[in-house]
């Protein structure tokens, strides 16, 4: 395996999480994977109205970061089921939101791109890419509390993203910026849009920054390192499996980190444990979807 799937890989990186943490991280990945497979199924059955933005293929990023940090303010954008679930957002409220129920996390008014959970300090997103970045900087300025902000590689091109990161650096605010870089703006590749990388820009601003693949142990490693010296930026190369919006698929993904992580867990000797986790999460998620769909 070469290319972006291995970008920045370090030797013996899997040791950065202990067995309990590694399995907790994998549990988070399973939660998103099986949750979103149910989303796709219900969307095809027309039980879900409105657009859906799936994180399948990108689960490892928030799963890894949530394994390292907790209790932070969280600002993500439209593709945020994985963030919501990884950080412990209420899964029933997320199902209800997608089903358009008043009991949803945004009262059924926001849908897939506009989810929130006050209990995990996740602030809702309105749908404009990248605008969560200045909002996040304002939140950390106003609260003085650590904040993590997720956005995509297209959002990184919004002019207000640079200037907000610059403001955070100027004021030395405790914020971790994370770019989920799937190389696509809908279907337009990054190379057609720009010839620079945001990690270079962040380093130019003076903050620690790294450009790595979506190996969750690698992400966890840099998260642990960077939270000692915020603000900081992590650019993570990843593979979105589904369309930008909806549940369609064009080509097979270049890599599937979910499968690669399972391979790693086998190599680490956790076959029995990961299999049990995966089976349990899958069953739990499917049962919840079944229950909530029936009350709709």
């Amino acid at each position: 395996m070469t290319g972006l799937a291995t970008l920045g890989t370090l030797k013996r990186i899997n040791d950065c999480l202990n067995p309990v943490e590694s399995l907790a991280m994998f549990r988070r990945m399973c939660l998103t994977r099986y949750f979103e497979l149910e989303v796709a199924k219900h969307y095809k059955e027309k039980a879900i109205h409105g657009p859906v933005y799936l994180s399948i293929g990108q689960e490892s990023i928030s799963a890894a970061i949530a394994t390292v940090i907790s209790g932070w303010y969280i600002l993500a954008q439209h593709r945020a089921h994985s963030v919501y679930l990884a950080f412990g957002g209420d899964i029933v409220k997320l199902i209800d939101e997608l089903l358009g129920l008043r009991s949803g996390c945004s009262g059924g008014l926001g849908g897939s791109p506009s989810i929130q959970d006050k209990d995990i300090k996740m602030i809702g997103h309105h749908g404009l890419i990248g605008e969560n970045v200045p909002l996040a900087v304002g939140v950390v300025l106003g609260t003085g509390k650590p904040t993590v902000c997720f956005f995509g590689d297209a959002a990184a091109e919004e002019d207000y993203v640079f200037s907000s990161m610059g403001f955070a650096q100027t004021h030395q605010l405790p914020i971790l910026f994370v770019c989920e870089d799937n190389n696509l703006s809908i279907l337009t590749q990054k190379s057609a849009r720009r010839n620079w990388e945001l990690a270079d820009v962040a380093r130019g601003l003076g903050m620690p920054a790294v450009d790595i693949t979506d190996d969750p142990w690698l992400i966890a490693h840099y998260t642990r390192e960077f939270i000692q010296d915020l603000p900081a930026f992590i650019n993570v190369r990843t593979c979105r499996h589904y369309w930008h919006v909806g549940v369609g698929v064009d080509n097979p993904p270049e890599w599937d980190r979910f499968r690669l992580v399972k391979d790693n867990l086998v190599e680490m000797g956790y076959l029995t444990q990961f299999y049990a986790v995966e089976k349990e999460v899958k069953k739990h998620v499917e049962e919840l979807w079944k229950q909530r769909s029936q009350i709709r």
């Binding site: 009262g107 605008e131 200045p134 996040a136 939140v139 907000s164």
Partner: protein, 306 residues
């Protein structure tokens, strides 16, 4: 000496920053006159100089409102609203309805005119904000009105758009409605047009035209109160005058509502539908007292001809 409007704004701000741990954010606000002496110079720990990044700055200000700091966000020139509006319109104004979370940011948008400030430093843009759901809009011109606006802001969790005018900052006195039992017309005035309307009413007396003058400070929510409607029911003719553009603006909108509510014709006037420039012939400011007089006389003539 009475406190001026500038004094009032400065003291409200000082109290908010020192006692409420509030924040004040804006570009170049702690220098060059401290925004016409409306910004206190002894609260720097709670004053944030924003970079000249308009959208990011507005987003950061809105973010501090999410954080519960009830920020005051200054747009030194109202025209900058076109750049700064996205986080205000798309997040602050919508959050309460979508997320159930109020985002109380106090936006001070300053207008100016008649100084040759030109293309992008002369506008008065409250009308465009009236078009946005989820935000309160007002144009206070006196110390007492500003205090009322602040009380409403602090007792609610809605964003507040405050349309200010630099030519009001030395105002000390409150402005009362004048209502006469046998008035010929009711003039409703907004922002700087209120000062011009006061002069116009005096001039019109020489033409034997008696005017009611009703001051409008709250633009949204706009309440069709007895105070607003009764003078029109008596005079049976009305005119709304504003410092913003008339076309699709506050003056036309309010004139329509007044007509709908009473059945009496109400016309509107505001800035011309023209770009402003540096030259005197391109200022296109708030209708002057003379222009208001001309308009009233035209309305009176048309009514007589009918």
């Amino acid at each position: 000496m009475e406190a001026t409007l500038a004094d009032t704004i400065r003291e409200i701000t000082r109290k908010h920053l020192k006692q409420n741990d509030g924040l004040l954010l804006g570009q170049a606000i702690s220098a060059v006159g401290w925004v016409n002496q409306t910004v206190p110079d002894d609260c720097m720990e709670n004053i944030i100089e924003l970079p000249m990044a308009d959208v990011a700055g507005a987003g950061i200000a809105v973010g501090t409102a999410i954080a519960g700091r009830r920020p005051i966000f200054i747009l030194r020139f109202g025209d900058f609203l076109w750049l700064a509006s996205s986080p205000i319109v798309n997040y602050a104004a919508k959050s309460k309805q979508i997320f159930g979370v109020g985002v109380p940011v106090f936006i001070r948008a300053l207008s100016d005119e008649n100084y040759g400030l030109g293309i992008v430093h002369s506008a008065c843009l409250h009308s465009v904000m009236m078009h946005v759901p989820g935000i309160r809009v007002c144009a206070p011109m006196t110390p007492g009105e500003y205090e009322e606006v602040w009380r409403v802001f602090m007792n609610n969790d809605d964003p507040m758009f405050v349309s200010e005018h630099r030519q009001s900052f030395q105002q000390e006195d409150e402005m009362r409605d004048t209502v006469e039992a046998d008035a010929d017309i009711t003039i409703y005035a907004i922002s700087l047009a209120r000062y011009h309307a006061v002069k116009a009413v005096e001039i019109l007396k020489k033409y034997d035209v008696k005017c009611n003058l009703v001051h409008i400070m709250w633009l949204k929510p706009f309440e069709l109160s007895y105070r607003l409607l009764e003078p029109l029911r008596v005079s049976k003719k009305g005119l709304v005058v504003d410092s913003d553009y008339a076309i699709a603006g506050a003056s036309q909108s309010i004139a329509y509502e007044l007509t709908e509510a009473t059945g009496h014709p109400v016309t509107a006037m505001g800035r011309k539908d023209e770009s402003m420039g540096i030259g005197q012939h391109l200022i296109h400011g708030t209708p002057t007292a003379e222009k208001i007089v001309d308009k009233v006389l035209e309305v009176m003539k048309n009514a007589k001809d009918r």
